[in-house]
């Protein structure tokens, strides 16, 4: 999908107008941003928006997140185990220490 984010009032207004007149390309509206589906028309609209408002428009291409393909088992398991913890007040660092779960610092260093 295409993620279109606006950074000025004028750009936000244009985005709003696009969403109103072309709701067939809009997957989700999120305030001053929107997700467009991946069609040429969506790209055309996003590009027109950028032509008009230059740096006040950011366009990113997103892809579906599949945690089983993109994320190591250890990270997935750590997330599930931490959300299942007994005491809600335990911070992750304390929860992870002395276990096989990766530390936040380790995860920060490693890219997906």
């Amino acid at each position: 999908m295409l993620l279109v984010v606006t950074y000025s009032q004028a750009a936000r207004t244009t985005l709003r107008n696009i969403c109103r007149t072309h709701d067939e390309v809009v997957v989700r509206r999120l305030g001053r941003a929107a997700l467009f589906d991946e069609t040429e028309l969506a790209a055309f609209l996003a590009l027109r928006l950028r032509e008009k408002h230059d740096e006040a428009v950011q366009i990113e291409r997103t892809e579906p997140f599949n945690e089983f393909a993109a994320v190591p088992d250890a990270v997935r398991e750590a997330a599930a185990a931490y959300e299942d913890r007994e005491s809600p007040a335990t911070p992750y660092s304390k929860f992870a220490s002395g276990t096989d779960h990766p530390s936040a610092a380790e995860m920060k260093r490693r890219e997906l």
């Binding site: 997957v27 989700r28 579906p64 599949n66 945690e67 089983f68 393909a69």
Partner: protein
């Protein structure tokens, strides 16, 4: 008001005191009897003949109220309704609430209805679909590598002129290539299933989003209405609290959370005091059930509150020492 106890004894008047009664009649029972239809009530049960409960009585039928810490806005909204005040956003609110109810009904209908035909868009189903895609993808790339290796081996054996080894490697290559094409088919099927689920999940999210917007709008209108009532009735409310403070029995009600403090800001913090002040402001004709301190007897309570009163023992069994 006319109240008949299950044992047949009858009390009459605008102030009825059951706190000292040996028969334990609970607050819930009395409130239910006030709300009950006259015909619906069976003989032998607690029965109360009184004016029907009007607007606002739902929240102010008892003190302490049903909420442990009723906010000033919540109470004053009930006062406003009892007086027939209508906030300027009331029509809006009615409309929004009706739409929200419609939304909820539809969602309930959909989840109850054609369960087999609709795709399961639960997080668990989506997770399982993603897991399958990932697993099939991993199998596929492993087999693809294996095919490449075997192809190299076949070539090497052929170049070396070793016919037997070439044939063996070729057989294995055919076997692995067949497996690869099966796994490929599997992966494509898994991907199709996942994208179908994601499409279904997307429309599910559409209706979630619409509902969230409605819920926000309802909340905002309610807040506006509360603010409006609070502004309109605030001065009266504070006067009632000050008046309550000056009651002789107020000092005795040490069982209330505010204790015997004479600070009116503390009184404002006391949920019972707030509820009493609200009942005094409200325009109620049906009786209110009290199970709190503050008043020396039911009559004093009825006089100060300006409504008929039934006084009960506190439902938690705590002795009501101001009633003696």
């Amino acid at each position: 008001m006319r109240l008949r106890l299950p044992d047949g004894s009858v009390h009459e008047g605008a102030a009825i005191d059951l706190a000292g009664d040996s028969l334990a009649v609970g607050v819930d029972e009395v409130v239910a009897a006030i709300r009950a239809d006259e015909e619906a009530d069976a003989t032998g049960a607690l029965r109360i003949d009184c004016p029907p409960p009007g607007p606002g009585h739902d929240r102010l039928s008892r003190v302490p109220v049903s909420k442990p810490t009723p906010s000033r806005g919540w109470l004053l909204a009930a006062v406003g309704r009892s007086r027939g005040l209508r906030s300027p956003v009331a029509d809006d609110l009615d409309r929004l609430e009706a739409r929200l109810a419609e939304h909820r009904d539809r969602a309930a209908e959909e989840s109850a209805g054609d369960e087999r035909e609709r795709a399961d868009t639960s997080a668990a189903a989506l997770r399982e679909a993603r897991r399958r895609v990932a697993a099939a993808g991993a199998d596929e790339s492993r087999l693809r590598e294996r095919v490449a290796t075997l192809r190299g081996r076949v070539n090497a054996h052929r170049d070396a002129g070793d016919d037997e080894a070439t044939a063996a490697a070729r057989d294995e290559l055919v076997e692995v290539a067949t497996e690869l094409s099966e796994v490929e088919t599997e992966r494509v099927a898994a991907e199709q299933r996942l994208s179908a689920l994601e499409r279904a999940a997307r429309s599910e999210r559409d209706s979630r989003e619409a509902r969230l917007k409605l819920e926000d709008a309802v909340e905002n209108r309610r807040r506006e209405a509360r603010a409006q009532f609070a502004a309109e009735l605030g001065a009266e409310f504070e006067a009632a609290l000050r008046d309550l403070e000056s009651l002789p029995a107020a000092a005795e009600s040490a069982d209330s959370p505010a204790g015997s403090s004479s600070e009116s800001s503390d009184l404002e913090a006391d949920p019972v005091a707030r509820a009493l002040a609200a009942v005094r402001l409200a325009d109620l004709s049906a009786p209110v059930v009290l199970s709190c301190g503050w008043f020396s007897d039911a009559e004093a309570a009825a006089n100060w509150l300006g409504v008929p009163v039934v006084r009960c023992r506190p439902s938690d069994g705590r002795a009501d020492h101001t009633g003696r």
